[in-house]
Amino acid sequence: MSKCSAIVYGRTYEVDFRFIALPENFTDDDKKWIDNYIKVTTRTAEKLTNNPRFSIVKNSQYCVFGVICLARDLHNVIEETKDKYDRSLYGFFGYVIPVNENVEAIHCFLEPNIDLFKPLYNYILEQWNTRKKLSSPIRVSYNEKLGKYGEINNQNYLDIDYKKIRYNTSSEKEIYLYPSSSEYNHFLWSMTIDNILKDSVNSVSLCLNLTNKSDLENAPFLNVTVNGINSFEIYTKESKIETEKYIPNNDFTEKNDCTDRVLEKSSQPSIQKGKINQNVDKNPSIYLFIILFIIFSGLAFSIIFTTIKNLSILSNNVIIVIFFISLLLSALLAFYLAKIKQKPTNQSKSSQSSTENKTFPDKLKPKNKNTISNSKQTKSKNPFDEF
């Protein structure tokens, strides 16, 4: 006989979302395991109207067949499908089958059929009038009754063109995405059942009819059908969705760190080897220095040589010393001139900034002359000094 237990996640009239029913032997880890899947299927819940999301999840111990749908899809009394604030309720309703004990029960789920899950709404009704969240959900035993649902027409089962479908059973870093259509839903559902029955793969997961790709963030599913795509796609879990452009968050902690770094540097202005910013632009005036150095040293040599001809009394050593001194002086002079030449470049950049600054209102001009400690002490009516 088929033995199943139940998982029900949803909210009741007054109390917010929680697990309302769980299998009697489910541990906290099992609960976390299934919760990770359920939390994906409940995203963008407003799109559940006429679009229930079926899922199959299997690990080494359990196989779960479930659906996320509006309460009114499972229950006819409308008053019992809306919460205190008149919002339509929705939830996850699933059957749990222990993998190693009874494969028979799986044959009840050969097709995604919402009618199978209708009896599970009784768990919601059982808790309907509760005003406080219970500390633990209803523990459901593996009950034979749960598996006895309807004769399902499974003629098309296994009638699949496997070449049409790539099915992911191994790559946990990827999700295989297919357009949400009855054809793909049928194929993928059948392939999933097939994989479970073959028992050749440990981990199987499928979700049908997700709303869009952005609902896949942190999703543990391996195979999904989703609206808004036209053909097969592979979603890589590490990277976010292509259309999503990540902008680094300029929060104040970062800003604060940045300011702190600046402050640190200002208090220790000495240059330390290897600690200087790698992106520092090398001074372009080095080329100017070389040119000036060549000119000055050339001039110095020509002066020395023309003068020395007339001063033959000087020894060779003195001539060498004079030669090196003139070389050094040429270098210094060239370096100094190169630096003077460079200064206006920096200042022009700075003045460009200050030109921009001229358009700022006085209150908003940066107080360049103030150190941070000074600015803290300054009392001002400037609205930006409020903080």
Binding site: R11, D16, F17, K39, T42, R43, A45, L48, D83, K84, Y85, R87, L89, Y90, K133, N212, S214, D215, T243, E244, K245, I247, N249, N250, D251, F252, T253, K255, C258, T259, V262, L263, P269, I271, K273, I276, N277, V280, K282, F289, L332, F335, Y336, K339, Q342, N346, K349, S350, S353, E356, F360, L364, P366, N368, T371, I372, S375, F384, E386, F387
Partner: protein
């Protein structure tokens, strides 16, 4: 920047976000809102359209984070994250992941929106608003908040209230005292209406962002000042005789000279000024908006 909203289930958190998004598509006083993710944009627009027809969103069952830009004159100015929680999170213990995330979010928040059902308050229903739980949560995070933040107490469903009276806020008394005593929290109370007709919807967001954007401006000013100070320091060093000799040596061994460092610092100044300039007018406009409109202040930290 991070905005966090908390409130009991059914108070209208998601409704508020969607209504605000819909309204700010046309801009108010130059301000607009744009979702960074196109799917979020489409979803919020659709929800806003439904709300304007009296169809309210389904209950939220999990935390969801949205990334937005506050726009000014149709330009993306301030990126920020808005964390939307399911109402039940405030009732959960620290064992729950949602509750842990909420506490962590509150500690990092630059703006907190605390939602209360105005209609329930007016009819004396304190229990359903879960004010005690919300204030306890925020009080818990106060010791960890060491920077200026804003706290907006949003009274939803204001259209159902004939008159707001001081006695309605009696249950907040202790909380107000705690906010006043805090050196860093500015707080105000904002009644709003979301639905077929919406009122005051833009105010909570603009208030929640105001403190953070001013702080951002302040930090930029500090950074500019510090980079300029450093640039001048190294420039002066490089002009001295020892600096010249030092630079010759550094040039020979191919390491950055004082002059290089000074140059790099000037480039930083230039870069920071480029970040600084575009946010000035939005910040001024935001401050002007806050000054000119009637905000019911709990306290405004100077």
């Amino acid at each position: 920047m991070r905005i966090v909203e908390i409130g009991h289930t059914g108070v209208g958190k998601t409704t508020y976000m969607a209504t605000l998004y819909g309204i700010l598509q046309n801009g108010i006083e130059g301000f607009g809102l744009k979702a960074q993710n196109s799917n979020d944009h489409e979803r919020l627009i659709e929800l806003a359209q439904n709300i304007s027809q009296g169809i309210y969103p389904s209950a939220t069952d999990q935390r969801r984070e949205y990334n937005f830009y506050l726009q000014y004159d149709n330009k993306n100015i301030f990126p920020f994250t808005w964390a939307d929680y399911r109402g039940g999170a405030i009732r959960e213990t620290q064992d729950s992941e949602q509750a842990r995330l909420l506490v962590s979010d509150l500690r990092q928040a630059d703006g907190i929106m605390m939602f209360c059902d105005g209609h329930a308050l007016a009819s004396g229903d304190i229990r359903s608003n879960q004010i005690g739980r919300m204030t306890a949560l925020i009080n818990k995070t106060l010791p960890y908040i060491n920077r200026p933040i804003s706290l907006a107490i949003i009274l939803t469903k204001a259209d159902l209230v004939t008159q707001f009276t001081e006695s309605m806020l009696e249950s907040f008394r202790g909380f107000f005292t705690a906010i006043e005593a805090s050196p860093s929290i500015s707080g105000c109370i904002l009644p709003i209406t979301c639905g077929i007709e919406s009122h005051n919807v833009e105010k909570p967001l603009l208030f929640a962002l105001q403190v953070a954007v001013n702080l951002q401006l302040k930090y930029l000013e500090k950074e500019i000042a510090e980079h300029e100070k450093m640039a001048r320091y190294y420039q002066d060093k490089s002009d001295s005789l020892t600096g010249i000799l030092h630079d010759i040596w550094k040039t020979i061994i191919e390491e950055p000279t004082y002059s290089d460092i000074s140059n790099a610092k000037y480039q930083e100044v230039y870069k920071k000024r480029r970040e600084y300039q575009p946010i000035i007018s939005p910040v001024r406009a935001l401050n002007k908006h806050i000054e000119e409109h009637d905000y019911l202040w709990i306290c405004q930290k100077k």
